[in-house]
Amino acid sequence: MGWLSAVHPYIPNSDNGIRKRLLEEIGVGSVDQLFQDIPNSIRSNAGLAIPRKLSEMETRRYVEASLAKNQSTRDILSFLGAGVWPHHVPAAIDSIISRGEFLTSYTPYQPEISQGMLQSMFEYQSLICDLTEMDYANASLYDWSTALGEAARMTVRVTERNEFIVPHYIHPERLGTLKNYCDPAEIQIVAVAQDRRTGAVDLSDLRRKVSDRTAGVYLEWPSFLGFMDGSCDEVADLAHKNGSLLVVGCEPTSLGSLKTPGELGADIAVGEGQPLGNHMNYGGPLLGIFACKGEGLLRHMPGRIIGSTTTQDGQQVAYCMALQTREQHIRRGKATSNICTNETLLALAAAMYLSLLGPAGLAELSAIIAKRTAYAIEQLSTLRGVKAPEFDAFHYMEFTVNFDRAGKKVSEINEALLEAGIQGGLDLSKHFPELGQTALYCFTEVHTERDIDMLRDELRVILGGQSN
């Protein structure tokens, strides 16, 4: 190895001469001496068993060679949603969130030097409250599923009850995460049936299941399967009359036109902020939205909250973390949550996205998504043996496509679609066997009507060339 490659470009003091000067100044003979308190029995004398370093150019080539084997949703036509949805990310967002001042900063523990991110998070919280019509929002949680887990635990803290009711058609990964947030707190998760025809929560089943043990009732709007729940008002009513909290899970672009969690009577709103200006990134990082109503609930809210205040001389508006006594770095074992690192940079992207689109832009986005969804339902319904959607309700962005009468499995259909460069919808047959051979398809503004026509035509060929 040549002399220069021993010096590391990211490690200014890696040069032997500089190291020697540092050591001399503090009277230490060698760097190794600084490690002599590590007992020999656990010292790794052989070094690390990983490959030797690559240069920047080599690293880039190596990773890019591997990445070239991926076919992204730009290379193939994808109709996957189910918790992560394809949208165009405005260039302005990637430009701002790459700025080192934002990107390379830490949690704003010293507010005077971190006003930029603090103000941005105050704006994010305000924008989320405007969007959801809730009173307070935190500065983000990890994703929708963990936000739901935290919401369930919060309903239990507030009501001192221990059951949490969820709809039957819930995202399996969301339910799985919820279980891991509930189990240790001994919270029972109770599933409520949904009408097989409309998808709406079965009110008589809900009446049977709410009790003085019910801490919270969870409603999804839109549901995991894309339909809007026709009994949402009754669900809210039932929950509140029973002294339970209503938790509403929402997909944020839909709120450009659809009723908000606040209007539905939610005490807590959760959701996935990825559609607001964040890339899919193979499913992470994501952005957990969390908001609540009323000061009573605010004190129980998990996560970081930014407040607006002034300088001590009262002369200038300024921002800092608020209500930190709820958080782990102050409250330790008695904190409302263990969360520390959150998804701030994605929240900044979301704040920018909502600002860029504005009220008219977001309304228009939700309208085009509704239009595409309606068009796709119309087109796929022309196929023989296909039922799209399964549920008789208004669908937003996603709907189920059932292939039972076509006599083909979703897995076979998706294999065949992929050969034509199309990624079909998510196979639901394992998660919800009662739905038969059903897939969940997603349509957003990134899909053109021509894309949908291509899907329709390809499905027609795969299913045997017949129309209804």
């Binding site: 030797r52 690293t59 600002s355 860029l356």
Partner: protein, 499 residues
């Protein structure tokens, strides 16, 4: 060098709003999409209250705000236990590939062989660095890694009919997330004290372990920056009692290539990729908190894990004993890939160099700063620190009335971020400092000069010190006002209109 942060006095984005403006069109130009596509009964009844601004206003607004924010790219950021090292730019460039950004987590696995291969390799390298059998990349951050680890302990012990184990032991110097995660996972938190040399008091530990011990959470080196040299004995005590040993990886930057947690007896390890593996912290996130386990615990890991069958990579959901999901999908993939690029750029020798120099820099700074009047280095003065150290300003407070917080605020004027203050709790007027390996000697010396100047000012009872900071975008903030019910303002609609 004089530091002066931008002072834009920037209004809120909603104050820039004017009816009729827009910053981005989501809808194709020739297309009309109106609210008529949505049934009346489902529509929101009140109009959206978002701001109306054009793209240039959004860009200027957030560019100005970025200038009122301090990051590693601007200067020294020695927050203890946060490992604010430089984030190599090529890692961001790699993560910006559309072959990552535009991948959907449910795509057919034939179409994502490239990313699965990289995740598999990343997982393998991380496991080798810490000396464990297998990793999960799913946890979103360090605290979630802790929670995952505790759920693994829980599943393992329940499986062995040891559900009665309901106590997690943490040292009094532990990170706040440790007790918070343990409580959240349903455990009773038992705190053990540190001994005069700053390490876990093994006698106290002996009396704390027992039949109810589920495990011990500890970081090594600890938050004082001191290596727990009795770690094998500690591990023995915990294991003998039937408990498991959990490694909080926040402080791994000290020991890469020097000692592996796996060799110290740890059963579970979490890593903070946004610390040791240089992924940018984004003002608070995203992070990534992979968790590694020894062979006894692999069958409990969350699903899916990334596997390789000799021909293809695949996601394995078939784990009967799995704890299931800890979050949706496969983890913070874009963060993991940055970390893997960082590992590639360093290799075995580079990571060890990183630890070497991180420790050298910390000791250099510790030795220089403890000699500054008013400051001291409590606990085990003669023992070398690792990647970080905790300075105490208690003498300064006693002699001049200037607290660690005031020192921190004055440091801002020198264009450096102050250390973590008032943590760990076992040191009075604590200033916990972690310079990392990516700082130069010149910067370290500038930090020493800043401390010397502040000490001089303190002993001269300078107003400049008491009224600091001066160079930041705002002067000292009234944090109490932000928390008093009457003045609290948590959104621009405050007080809320729906309450």
């Amino acid at each position: 060098m004089t530091f002066a942060q931008a002072k834009w006095n920037e209004p809120s984005i909603n104050q820039l709003s004017e009816h009729g403006k827009v910053g981005y069109h989501a809808v194709p130009t020739d297309e009309r999409a109106t609210v008529d596509f949505i049934p009346k009964t489902l529509r929101r009844s009140r109009p959206l209250a978002l701001p109306e601004v054009s793209e240039i206003e959004v860009i200027r607004h957030y560019t100005r705000l970025s200038q009122e924010n301090f990051g590693v790219d601007l200067g020294l950021y020695p927050l203890g236990s946060c490992t604010m090292k430089y984030n190599p730019k090529v890692c961001d460039l790699i993560a910006a590939s559309q072959k990552i950004q535009e991948l959907h987590p449910y795509q057919d696995q034939k179409t994502v062989q490239g990313i699965l291969a990289l995740l598999y390799e990343a997982s393998d390298r991380l496991a080798k660095i810490v000396g464990v059998e297998k990793m999960t990349l799913q946890p979103a951050a360090g605290a979630q890694g802790e929670y995952t680890g505790l759920m693994l302990i829980r599943a393992y012990q329940h499986d062995r009919n040891e559900g009665y184990r309901d106590e997690i032991i943490v040292p009094d110097s532990a990170h706040g997330t440790n007790p918070a995660s343990a409580a959240m996972a349903g455990y009773k938190v038992v705190e053990v004290r540190s001994n005069p040399s700053g390490c876990v008091d093994t006698d106290a530990l002996k009396s704390a372990v027992g039949r109810r011990t589920a495990g011990l959470m500890i970081t090594n080196p600890n938050t004082l920056g001191i290596f727990e040299h009795e770690i094998l004995e500690i591990a023995g005590l915990v294991h003998d009692a039937g408990g498991l040993l959990y490694y909080d990886g926040a402080n791994l930057n000290a020991i890469m290539g020097k000692a592996k947690p796996g060799d110290m007896g740890f059963d579970i390890v979490h890593l903070n990729l946004h610390k040791t593996f240089a992924t940018p912290h984004g003002g608070g996130g995203p992070g990534s908190g992979p968790v590694g386990v020894t062979s006894a615990l692999t069958s409990y890991l969350p699903v899916p894990t990334v596997e390789f069958d000799g021909k293809k990579y695949y996601l394995d959901y078939n784990k009967p004993k799995t704890i299931g999901k800890i979050r949706a999908f496969h983890g913070n993939v874009a963060v993991v890939l940055r970390a893997y690029a960082y590992i590639l750029l360093h290799g075995a020798e580079g990571l060890e160099t990183a630890s070497d120099v991180a420790v050298l820099n910390a000791n250099y700074l510790a030795q220089k700063l403890r000699r500054v009047k008013g400051f001291s280095l409590p606990f085990a003065e003669g023992v070398p620190r690792k990647h970080e150290f905790v300075l105490s300003a208690s003498q300064l407070l006693k002699e001049t009335g200037v607290s660690a917080l005031q020192v921190a605020k004055r440091l801002l004027d020198f264009g450096v971020h102050p250390p973590t203050v008032y943590f760990p709790l076992i040191v009075e007027e604590a200033m916990m400092m972690e310079p990392t390996e990516t700082v130069s000697k010149q910067e370290l010396d500038a930090m020493v000069r800043a401390f010397q100047k502040i000490s001089d000012e303190a002993y001269a009872a300078s107003d400049r010190l008491k009224t600091a900071p001066h160079a930041t975008s705002v002067t000292r903030i009234d944090e109490a006002k932000a928390n008093r019910p009457k003045t609290m303002k948590l959104t621009w609609r405050s007080p809320p209109t729906t309450a």
